[in-house]
């Protein structure tokens, strides 16, 4: 192998794929035929492939065609001189990283400075010795190789980034599709049965939320309602929630238990949804409303949010201390019972609505949430819920919630007879 046969540096060449005998290409741009021939002969003897151009314009064309590893250009040339050639190379996106040796018969500092400013990388005196020419050419080729390696790496990084962006977009599209599906499982707002209004607002902290709820007619006389809250956030929590939601479908529960008795539903859910190995679990509140009488039977598995708002008295929480699902496989969940009258409202909520902090770090909290519900009595059900979200956002001075936030409201709008006949 010739001593100057270098590792590959040519355009678009992969160093690992090229033969070891790759010979660097040097473009020599010189208008003086004798000087050009003499320098070309020297370089050829040193083992390089030499490309020759007789002026700057021809040199530019050849450089674009051949992408040489190094360009040696004479300063003084008619039509396009060396520094102008350097400027043209630096402006050309394809050539701008080329290594250029500016050849001159002068070595005045001002001239050198001008050459560097206009785009040259180094200088070569026309009177240089064989040793100096060898050293400067080798240095230029070393830099050229490093620059091209950088360009290759940068191009690979750019490709990887584009690939990652495409994957990210794909994943986000999937997440939005999954979120739309989960949203489609939520009960339609309006009137699930005659005499009862339903309104809700739901703001997942990420694209997919882990808080879900349901309101559904069990038979002509019963309405079942629940809210569940999966610990954690994101896709894993959403998937676990969808699984529990499937379990809580009326057909499934009626087949398993024979009724939507909250105590039995929680007992069965507790058995089937244990605490996961990484500490994930659910809280769940389940109620069953007897439409003819307005009697609401309910039970909670550690769920902190069910609030009763009655026309004549302040709102009160319908909760008691109990284990979330999966904390204790032998846990029993006791039922409580109240009677809802016309005008009464029941709100099921996740803690994400009131566990928001002000910029100073103070929690909004359950009491302030309760106050917005009390103050919302003169408003419509949906307006009351909207005002609670608005107050929470105002408190944290941010639109998005750090945790999933859900508030579901039902209102007894008609008398029991109407509900029964509806």
């Amino acid at each position: 192998m010739h001593p100057n046969a270098l590792q590959p540096t040519g355009p678009g060449l992969d160093s690992s794929a090229q033969p070891e005998t790759f010979v660097a290409a040097i473009l020599l741009v010189e208008d003086e035929p004798v000087t050009r021939a003499s320098m070309a002969a020297r370089l050829t003897r040193l083992g390089y492939r030499v490309l020759e151009a007789e002026n700057g314009r021809a040199g530019l064309d050849m450089a674009r065609r051949e992408r040489p590893d190094l360009i040696i250009v004479d300063w003084m040339m008619p039509e396009m001189d060396g520094p102008t050639f350097c400027e043209a190379v630096r402006r050309d996106p394809l050539l701008k990283s080329s290594q250029i040796l500016l050849m001159t018969s002068h070595d005045k500092p001002a001239q050198i400075a001008e050459g560097l400013v206009r785009g040259a990388d180094d200088f070569l005196s026309k009177a240089a010795s064989k040793q100096e020419i060898t050293a400067r050419v080798l240095a230029g080729l070393r830099t050229s190789r490093l620059v091209r390696e950088l360009e290759t790496t940068s191009s690979q990084l750019e490709s990887s980034l584009l690939l990652l962006q495409a994957k990210q977009e794909e994943m986000e599209a999937d997440l939005h599709s999954a979120a739309a599906f989960v949203h489609s499982l939520l009960p339609p707002q309006g009137s699930p049965v005659q005499g009862i209004s339903l309104a809700w607002e739901y703001q997942p902290s990420l694209t997919l939320g882990g808080d879900l709820f349901g309101v559904m007619a069990i038979d002509a006389e019963h309405l079942a309602l629940y809210i569940l809250d999966a610990s954690g956030h994101g896709v894993a929590a959403a998937l676990r929630s969808a699984s529990l939601m499937t379990f809580l479908r009326a057909e499934n529960i009626l087949q398993l238990i024979g009724s939507y008795d909250p105590e039995q539903v929680l007992f069965e859910a507790n058995r089937r949804f244990p605490l996961s190995a990484d500490g994930a679990y659910f809280t769940l509140w389940v109620g069953q409303l007897h439409l003819p009488t307005g009697s609401l039977t309910y039970a909670s598995a550690g769920h902190p949010g069910a609030l009763l708002s009655q026309t004549q008295s302040p709102a009160r929480w319908l909760i008691r201390s109990s284990f979330p699902l999966g904390f204790d496989p032998s846990a029993l969940y006791a039922c409580d019972r109240i009677v809802l009258k016309p005008g009464d409202r029941l709100f099921l909520l996740s803690d994400g609505i009131y566990e928001v902090s002000s910029p100073g770090g103070e929690l909004w909290g359950r009491e302030r949430f309760q106050k917005t519900i009390d103050e919302g009595k003169p408003m419509s059900l949906s307006a009351t819920i909207a005002s609670s979200f608005s107050a929470a956002r105002g408190w944290q001075q941010a639109q998005h919630f750090p945790d999933d936030a859900a508030v579901v409201g039902i209102e007894m709008t008609g008398d029991p007879e109407e509900r029964l006949n509806g």
Binding site: Y281, G302, F323, P324, F327, D351, E355, L363, G365
Partner: protein, 112 residues
């Protein structure tokens, strides 16, 4: 979250400072694992400087309690702040993880 470990003859006390939440539970997991590796029989989690525990933090505490029970070891908590105490109470946590108002009571109860 900042965690300071204090090793006593009767067990290990973890002084927690900050929120115990989904976002910053890693430090707590590491501290607990270290205590387990050290053969700790009594782990006391000092909650006095914990302002907030979310559902994930709660799950983690229960998981830790259960894993210590499997090793015939115990976990207890010290002085949770009011809001944290309320969250614990709603989820019935004191039935699983005893809460004490001072270190002395916790150490005496653990020794009993």
């Amino acid at each position: 979250m900042k965690i300071k470990e204090r090793i006593l003859p009767q067990g290990i006390i973890l002084d927690l400072e900050g929120d115990l939440t989904y976002a910053n539970q890693a430090a707590f997991k590491v501290a607990v694992e270290k205590a387990k590796q050290a053969g700790c029989r009594h782990l006391i989690v000092n909650m006095e400087q914990v302002r907030f525990v979310d559902s994930a933090g709660l799950g983690l505490l229960v998981l830790v309690s259960q894993s210590f029970k499997r090793l015939q070891a115990q976990v207890s908590m010290l002085k949770p702040q009011n809001y944290v105490r309320e969250i614990m109470s709603l989820a019935n946590i004191p039935k699983m993880i005893p809460i004490y108002e001072n270190e002395q009571d916790a150490l005496i109860a653990l020794a009993a």
